[in-house]
C-alpha cells in the first residue's frame, strides 16, 4: 500500500517532466525549422521594438504604475491559509462530532468578520 503511494507520486514526478518536455520540444522543432531555412529569422531593430500603438514607444518600458491589488493579495493569503486548515476538516467531517462543526463555524465566523471589515473599509474596491 505504501509502495503504491510512492509509485503514484513517482508517476506524477515523471509526468511533470513530460509536461515540460512536450512544449519545449515544440519550441525546439520551430528552432530547427529556422536552422534548415523553413522558418525565417532575420531580426532587425525595428522588428524588435515592443509594440504599443504602431508609433515608436517613448520613454522607458519600466515606468512605475500602481499595481492596485496588494489588499486583494493580503486577503487572498488570509483566506488561502484558512482553507488549508479547512480541507482536512472537510475530508473527515462525515465522522466528526458536533464540537468540530461549532469550532469550524467559529473559525469561519472570525474570518467572515475580517472580510466584512475589509468590505466596510473599502478595501474590496478596485480604486
Amino acid at each position: 500500500m505504501l509502495e503504491d503511494y510512492f509509485r503514484q507520486y513517482g508517476l506524477i514526478a515523471i509526468f511533470i517532466a513530460i509536461a515540460v518536455i512536450v512544449p519545449t520540444s515544440m519550441l525546439t522543432i520551430s528552432w530547427l525549422a529556422s536552422r534548415i531555412g523553413i522558418r525565417p529569422t532575420n531580426p532587425t531593430p525595428v522588428k524588435q521594438e515592443t509594440y504599443e500603438c504602431g508609433m515608436e514607444a517613448i520613454g522607458g518600458r519600466w515606468g512605475q504604475f500602481n499595481f492596485r491589488y496588494y489588499m486583494y493579495a493580503v486577503l487572498f493569503v488570509v483566506f488561502d491559509v484558512e482553507v488549508i486548515f479547512l480541507y482536512p476538516w472537510a475530508a473527515k467531517f462525515l465522522g466528526l462530532p458536533l464540537f468540530a462543526l461549532i469550532e469550524m463555524f467559529v473559525f469561519v465566523g472570525i474570518l467572515l468578520v475580517a472580510w466584512a471589515y475589509a468590505w466596510r473599509k473599502g478595501d474590496l474596491e478596485w480604486a
Binding site: L11, V22, T24, L27, S30, N42
Partner: protein, 411 residues
Amino acid sequence: MNCVLAEDNILHGTPLLRWVYELAGLFLPCWLSYFIAGFVIMFILVNAVLLGAAVFVWTERRLVGRLQNRVGPNRWGPFGMFQPIADLLKLIVKEDLIPQGADKIAFVAAPIIMVATAILMLAVVPFAKNTALADLNVGVLYVLAVTSLTSVAILMAGWSSNNRYALFGAARGVAVLISYEVPVVLCLLGVVIVAGSMSLADVVTAQAVPFILVQPLAMFVFVAGTSAELNRTPFDVAEAESELIAGYHIEYSGIKFGLIQAAEFGGVVTASAVIATLFLSGWAGPASNYIGWLWLLIKIGVVAFLFIWIRATFPRLRIDQIMAFAWKFLMPLSFINLMAVSLEVYFLRDSSGALTTTDLWIMTVINLVVFAVCIPLFGSLIRDKVRPAQLQPTARATPGATVQQAGGEVT
C-alpha cells in the same frame, strides 16, 4: 517474473493498461513495468490535452461563428476541420521574435509553464473506473495547486516582455486569478465534505446524485471562478483586445504564441474534465464499467459547450466589476454553500457517518432553494456595481460650444 495487479490498483480498471503491465512484467521488474504502463497513460493524457485543444479551437470558432450569425472557418477540410492543423503549421514556420530588452529566460519559460499546467491538471482525473494516472489522496488540492501556477506564468510573460501593455495585462490577470482562487477553493470544500475524501476517484463514486444537483451553488461558483482563471470572455481583462491590445501575450509571436493559445484552449478542456469529474459524476453512467471514458468525454463536451456559450453571450466586464463579482458575490455564496452543506451533512448522516442516496436528494431540494434565494439576494448587493451607470441626459451641445470654450471664435 509475473506481475499481477491488485484489484484496487488504479491501473487495474483498463484492460489495455493491465495488458501492458503484465506483458512488460514478463521481462522486467514489476516497478519498471508499472512505470511503462504509466507512460501509456501519460501518452494518452498529453495527446488528450493537445488534440483536445485543437478540437476545441475548431469547435469554438465554428460555434461562436454560428452564435454570432456568421460562418466561421470552413475552407480547409470538411467543415474547416483541419483549420487547427493549418494554424499550427503556420505558427511553427513563422518568425519567432524576442523583443529588445526582454528577459529571455522568463520570456521563453512562460509559455512552457502554461502548457505544462494545462497538461498536469489531467493527472488526477479518473477517466474510467479505477483508471487515472495517479489517484492521489489529495487530488482536489493537487488540482487547485496546479491551477494557481498559471498566475506565475502570466506574470512571467507580462513582466519579461518589456512592454507596458503586457505588464498591465499581467497585473490585472494576476489580480483576477488570486481573487477567484478564494471562492473556488472555498466552494470545493462542500464537495469534499459530501464525498468524505479529497481523492477525485472517491468524489466520483460518492456522486449517487451528481453534485451539480446536490450543490448548485458550488457548481455556479466553480464554473464562474474557472472561467475567470482561464481568462475567458466575461472575465478576460488580462488580454482585453480593445483595451490592452493583447495583454500579457502581446509580444509573443510564432510558436510561442501558439503554445500560449494551446495552453488556453487545452486549459478549457482540462478544466471541463475537472468540472465534469467534480460536479457531473465523471465517468459514472449506464454501463460505465465498459464505456466510462465515453461518459467522461460526453460530459467534458457539455461543459466545454457551456464555456463557449458563455463566451458568446456575455460582454466583457470592467476590472472593478470583476473584482466586486469575486469578493462581494462569489465569496458569500461559497461561504453559504460551505455552511449549508456542513449543517445538512451533520443532521442527515447516520450514526456511522454515511450519507444515503435519499439524504443526497433531501440535500438537493434544500440546496436548490438556497440557490434560488441567494443568487438574487446577493445579486442585489452588487447590482449598482455591476450594472452600467445610468446615462445622465447631457445638455444638448450648442454648435461651436467646444470652440468657444477653447477661446476661439465662431463665425
